[in-house]
């Protein structure tokens, strides 16, 4: 048995899963003190199931706390940034394009130093030990404890970052350090930003993880605890203390993964319809399709691996014009239950249209009996058109795909969608996120620019696979369950024939400890 918990901005959900079967689930409001909501949800599912806690083999948690801390500029520690790239890049110092409020919250302590590598392994410059030590002494004199370290092409050669981290640790023994190479992908500014956002959250991560663990310990849940990350795989609790930023997109990812489990579909479009927006994502081979574009978190460009989500302005609370021709993007949002017509309010919303059409019974249907048939039908068709277009934009090709509807607003979709091969409305769709967390696996990936003239393609891929597997095992994967799920080869233009950027991703099952043993 596993427990899945999803801590969202509004609701905290919990489920107990027996394999792929939902034993029990609950949804409670997220309290100001997040842990109170978690405790409530846990107590509810444990008592509903009547299971002894030693039957629980693991607890998986998805949380938006770290994303929210960045977005709201809370709990951010002052952070020193060490970048090794000189003599290049003098014109674009760290945090140059950050919004002022978050740059101020993190502090503007940047040290740009000599070092780093080119794509072909040639050093940008030799490291200057005196320069490094002077920068460390300055950071120490300012009382900084949190550090992000980046260097040019560190995904291919991380030695400069490791050296600086080591010297920082020697000079400041209680330093919290994040090296940019931990965030893999190429793109120095975006990778460095990811490292800074991570470093600034390290103390907060420590306190969140400790709070989760103590909430579980209080309930005698001594099984292993995992936290789900952006790509739908898990990390163990200690890993989160070091990499809180890897949870930034776990919400939408868990929703997609949960939809997969509830329908058994590995390739599908998932539409999560809420009060204000519908978030459309794509399942490919059971995992979310990742976005190719630069992802901004709290206004900061990053290189995070995040699912490709198209948010369209249609939800249960979307405002409808009197002719029914325009719906959204304005919405009454969470005030739907007081402002919508069927709830006794005075605003015409998408939910009112569906009730008026006789397809759903929510609130007081009498309150919408006066709406003309033309208005209702026009608005209903409009909703389907909006969703159809959004779904169509996300489809990988011209083929029809099954569509899975989850979220409270799923009632809006009545009848068929043109863009869908079939529409699925699974049971337990309301707690898809917690289910997604509960079933997560463990992954690892590795990326390099290689020339297939210098190293044979098979050898290059084998080498990268080995690295990716080592990372997955570090995260808690069981050795014999690992399999390659993705090999991405991108030719690098202008750099001569057969220069490729190659990325290998592996996933595997969690190495479970038998029930009843302690972590």
């Amino acid at each position: 048995m596993r427990i899945g918990i999803d801590v969202g901005g509004t609701h905290t959900d919990a489920v107990i899963m027996d394999g792929n079967h939902v034993v029990t689930s609950t949804k409670v409001l997220t309290s100001a003190d997040v842990m109170e909501g978690v405790a409530n949800a846990l107590d509810t599912v444990l008592s509903n199931s009547g299971l002894p806690t030693d039957q629980i083999q693991s607890v998986m948690i998805g949380t938006t706390q770290f994303t929210n801390a960045i977005v709201e500029r809370r709990q951010l520690a002052k952070t020193g940034v060490f970048r090794l790239c000189l003599p290049s890049g003098r014109g674009l110092p760290p945090m140059v394009d950050w919004p002022d409020d978050i740059a101020d919250a993190v502090g503007r302590h940047a040290y740009t130093l000599h070092g780093g590598y080119l794509y072909d392994g040639w050093p940008v410059a030799d490291l200057d030990m005196d320069e490094i030590d002077r920068a460390i002494a300055d950071a120490k004199s300012k009382g900084l404890k949190n550090f992000a370290v980046s260097s040019a092409f560190s995904p291919m050669n991380a030695a400069p970052e490791e050296l600086v981290a080591k010297r920082l640790r020697a000079a400041i023994p209680d330093a919290h350090i994040t090296c940019s190479q931990s965030f893999g992908r190429l793109g120095l500014m975006e990778r460095e930003n990811a490292a800074i956002l991570n470093a600034t959250l390290l103390q907060f991560a420590d306190s969140v993880v400790s709070a989760f663990l103590s909430a579980l310990r209080l309930r005698h849940l001594t099984c292993p605890v995992f936290i789900s990350q952006n790509d739908g795989t898990l990390m163990n609790a200690d890993f989160v203390r070091a990499f809180p930023a890897l949870t930034f997109a776990s919400g939408p990812t868990n929703s997609l993964r949960g939809a997969m489990l509830l329908t058994g579909l590995d390739d599908a479009i998932v539409v999560d319809i809420g009060g204000t927006t519908s978030d459309i994502g794509v399942l490919q081979a059971g995992f979310p399709r990742e976005s190719n574009s630069v992802i901004k978190v709290g206004g900061v460009r990053t290189n995070f691996r995040m699912p490709d989500i198209q948010a369209i302005g249609l939800g249960g609370g979307s405002l409808v014009t009197n002719d029914g021709n325009t719906l959204g993007p304005q919405s009454v949002g969470h005030k739907l239950t007081s402002e919508g017509l069927v709830f006794g309010g005075s605003t015409l919303t998408a939910t009112d249209i569906i009730v008026a059409s006789g397809r759903e019974e929510i609130g007081d249907p009498g309150a919408v009996a006066h709406l003309s048939e033309t208005l209702v039908e026009t608005a209903r068709q409009k909703m389907l058109t909006i969703l159809d277009r959004g779904i169509d934009m996300m489809k990988p090709g011209a083929v029809q795909m099954p569509v899975i509807l989850v979220g409270g607003g799923a009632v809006l979709v009545t009848g068929d969608l043109k863009a869908a091969a079939r529409v699925h409305r699974p049971e337990h769709a309301g707690v898809a996120n917690a289910i997604g967390a509960a079933i997560a696996q463990v992954g690892g990936e590795s990326e390099k620019i290689v020339s297939y003239q210098a190293i044979a393609r098979e050898d290059a891929i084998a080498e990268l696979t080995k690295e990716a597997e080592a990372r997955a095992k570090d995260s808690g994967a069981q050795d014999d369950s690992l399999r390659v799920v993705d090999i991405e080869e991108t030719e690098v233009p202008y750099m001569g024939q057969e220069t490729m950027r190659v990325r290998v991703k592996v996933i595997g099952d969690l190495a479970f400890k038998p029930a009843g043993t302690s972590a």
Binding site: C85, P87, S88, G89, R90, G91, L92, V96, D97, G116, L118, Y119, D120, W122, V124, A125, A152, F153, L186, G187, L188, M189, S293, R389, D392, M393, M394, K395, P396, G397, A398, I449, T490, E491, V492, P493, Y494, M495, G496, R501
Partner: protein, 363 residues
């Protein structure tokens, strides 16, 4: 007229429109140029008619592979050092700099360089759009020697080129870019004002700014923008502006061949009426066809924009399912001359057809 740091975002947006799908993402050049202008103050935009006959000028820009330079962040140092080395080599100071191409990131590099050096930038460029090769530049077509040229890399290594012709020069700078981490800044095509005035697509910097401002202020569905865009282009060096098609991208495939992004895209009408429009791509959008009928071709500009916002979409960002509009804009008269068509007609891009101007085609 002066260019301010606040103008650059609009200028970059206009430059992406004029890049006809190519030119690369101007994000990093925009950021860098804005930082420099914040420090130096505004840059003077020199009108071609105000350039004295004996003024000494040169073209400046970046050459290389954007993918690789994601790690090798540029600086304004490279441009400044290349300019100074060029002046030293030529034994005279530059009175102003000028752009290779207005399309994409290279629209901003000369502005940054001019700001660092404290000299004006010319309101004009050597392409009026984006094109993939150096010999397609107006300066090369007018037989202005590309060398002596000076290149500076990330480590401030400076290289002098004196080559027999632009095609050899193109090969050599590519080779240097590869051995310098993937990106170099070059100063080339030294010339006098008298020569330049005849070898320039004039007014394109101020036009890109005007176009970008228009697109930002009038964000909205593409068909509604046609009339004002036509008015804008009619009052410019370009002239014609046609809305070729609106619809949905139902196919897009490109692959990298010989350092270029080559392929095509198919755009089906929203109501699926009539044959879809197919657009051939080699870094830029080169030819638009409906069935066998050519609607527009290089050197005229073909632009794909988002249907809802009219924001131009680069070829690398174009993908299945996007709802788009396709515009075509007549190229400047320079590119319709015999000398220019010798290097930029559809035949130079491997199509077995001659160039027919946009307005002479049924579209």
């Amino acid at each position: 007229m002066k260019l301010h740091a606040e103008d650059l975002e609009d200028l970059a947006l206009g430059s992406v429109f004029l890049a006809t799908g190519g030119g690369g993402d101007p994000y990093v050049p925009l950021l860098l140029t804005r930082e420099v202008l914040k420090r130096t103050g505004p840059v003077e935009l020199l009108q071609p008619s105000d350039i004295p006959d004996d003024a000494f000028l040169a073209a400046i820009g970046n050459v290389g592979a954007p993918t690789v330079s994601l790690e090798l962040l540029p600086s304004d140092d490279e441009a400044l050092i290349a300019l100074e080395a060029f002046e030293k080599q030529m034994g005279r100071t530059l009175d102003a700099v000028i752009s290779f191409e207005i399309g994409g990131g290279n629209s901003l590099i000369p502005i940054m360089a001019a700001a660092s050096r404290g000299i004006p930038v010319v309101d004009g460029d050597g392409m009026g759009r984006a094109l993939p090769e150096a010999q397609m530049m107006t300066y090369a077509i007018r037989n202005i020697p590309s060398t002596p040229a000076l290149a500076c890399d990330y480590a401030k290594n400076v290289t002098l080129f004196t080559t027999k012709g632009t095609d050899v020069y193109e090969r050599h700078i590519r080779a240097l870019a590869m051995s310098s981490g993937g990106m170099i800044t070059t100063v080339e095509h030294g010339m006098f004002g008298k020569t330049l005035r005849d070898a320039l697509i004039p007014g394109t910097v101020s036009f890109a700014l005007k176009l970008g401002t228009f697109l930002r202020e009038n964000r909205g569905q593409a068909p509604a923008l046609l009339a004002p865009l036509q008015a804008l282009f009619a009052d410019s060096i370009y002239g014609e502006c046609h809305l070729l098609h609106t619809g949905k991208v139902v196919d897009k495939s490109t692959r990298i061949v010989g350092g270029f992004d080559v392929g095509n895209t198919v755009i089906e009408a929203f109501d699926q009426a009539g044959a879809p429009v197919e657009i051939d791509i080699k870094n830029e959008y080169l030819m638009a066809r409906r069935g066998d009928q050519i609607l527009a071709s290089v050197p005229d500009l073909i632009i794909i924009v988002d249907y809802e916002t009219s924001e131009p979409i680069n070829a690398e960002r174009l993908r299945y399912g996007q709802r788009v509009a396709v515009f075509a804009v007549g190229c400047p008269a320079f590119y319709r001359t015999e000398a220019a068509l010798d290097v930029v007609s559809p035949r130079n891009f491997g199509f077995d057809v001659d160039y027919v101007p946009l307005e002479a085609l049924p579209n």
